[in-house]
């Protein structure tokens, strides 16, 4: 019995499968969807923070700086997830963890201290204004990063 070629299950031509050396990447399969959604959030968060800071910064400096911070986190997460290698993996882990802490802390503050956090950011109310995707994204991101973690260093 010979093994059947199964190039139809990926839709790629045989021979273009990633070599073992290219294993240390996260921009393949489900990762591509993850990166695409991160990219959309990076763009929208950057645009929103830019708009808030340019037009009405004095109304709520803290909230709008938080918006800008969230935008930077999304940008770093998008780029680092798309890049191969161990260093970018670590950058991704840090960015996604910061994002998770950010959405949890800002989400909780906006619920329990709505007097001091009345202004909208991406993370307010756990990302309710964005269909809770900001809450879901870092969890899926961490699962994906764990599944595609680099192999342990050779001793």
């Amino acid at each position: 019995m010979t093994a059947k070629p199964s190039h139809e299950d990926t839709g790629t031509t045989p021979g273009t499968e990633p070599a073992p050396a290219a294993k240390d990447t996260r921009n393949t399969g489900p990762g591509r969807l993850l990166i695409a959604v991160y990219a959309v959030f990076a763009i929208s968060a950057t645009a929103r923070a830019g708009y808030q800071i340019l037009t009405k910064f004095s109304e709520a400096p803290l909230a709008y700086l938080l918006s800008a911070f969230a935008a930077v986190v999304y940008l770093v997460a998008t780029v680092s997830l798309a890049k191969p290698g161990r260093t970018w993996f670590k950058v991704s882990v840090v960015a996604v963890l910061v994002e998770l802490v950010g959405v949890l802390v800002v989400g909780a503050l906006s619920v329990f201290d709505s007097v001091n956090f009345p202004h909208e950011t991406v993370w307010s109310l756990f990302g309710r204004g964005y269909a809770f995707i900001p809450l879901l994204l870092p969890i899926l991101g961490l699962i994906w990063l764990y599944r595609r973690r680099p192999a342990p260093k050779q001793a």
Partner: protein, 117 residues
């Protein structure tokens, strides 16, 4: 909400649905899914041309004009970027990327309508 929004609502939802089903059926991006995203791009272009004509004809955008145009131009880049990203690696997951375009365009069109009126 005006006709432009409803066009994008229908085209965007149909496109997302086609791409979602193709992804669930484990198909790589094909002519059907890519053309459905092209239809989203086309309906956004209709919005663009229609808006230019309306502004040229003296209609007034109620919100910030540059915010409206910013949304519209960003939305126009989305389908192009998504198709590029999807055909670099043609797996079922790329169809889920394409599926995100229609829904995102729909949300952005709703926001554009809010700004306009």
């Amino acid at each position: 909400m005006d006709a432009y929004f409803y066009i994008i609502l229908v085209v965007g939802l149909v496109s997302s649905l086609i791409c979602l089903i193709a992804g669930i059926l484990k198909k790589a991006p094909n002519d059907t899914t890519i053309l459905s995203v092209a239809a989203v791009e086309l309906s956004l272009l209709v919005y663009l041309v229609g808006s230019i004509i309306r502004v040229a004809g003296g209609e007034h955008i109620a919100g910030e004009p540059w915010e409206f145009w910013g949304y519209l131009l960003t939305a126009l880049l989305l389908p192009v970027g998504a198709v590029y990203w999807a055909i670099l690696e043609r797996t079922r997951w790329s169809n889920f990327v394409l599926a995100a375009v229609g829904v995102t365009a729909l949300v952005m069109a709703a926001r554009m309508n809010q700004i306009w009126y």
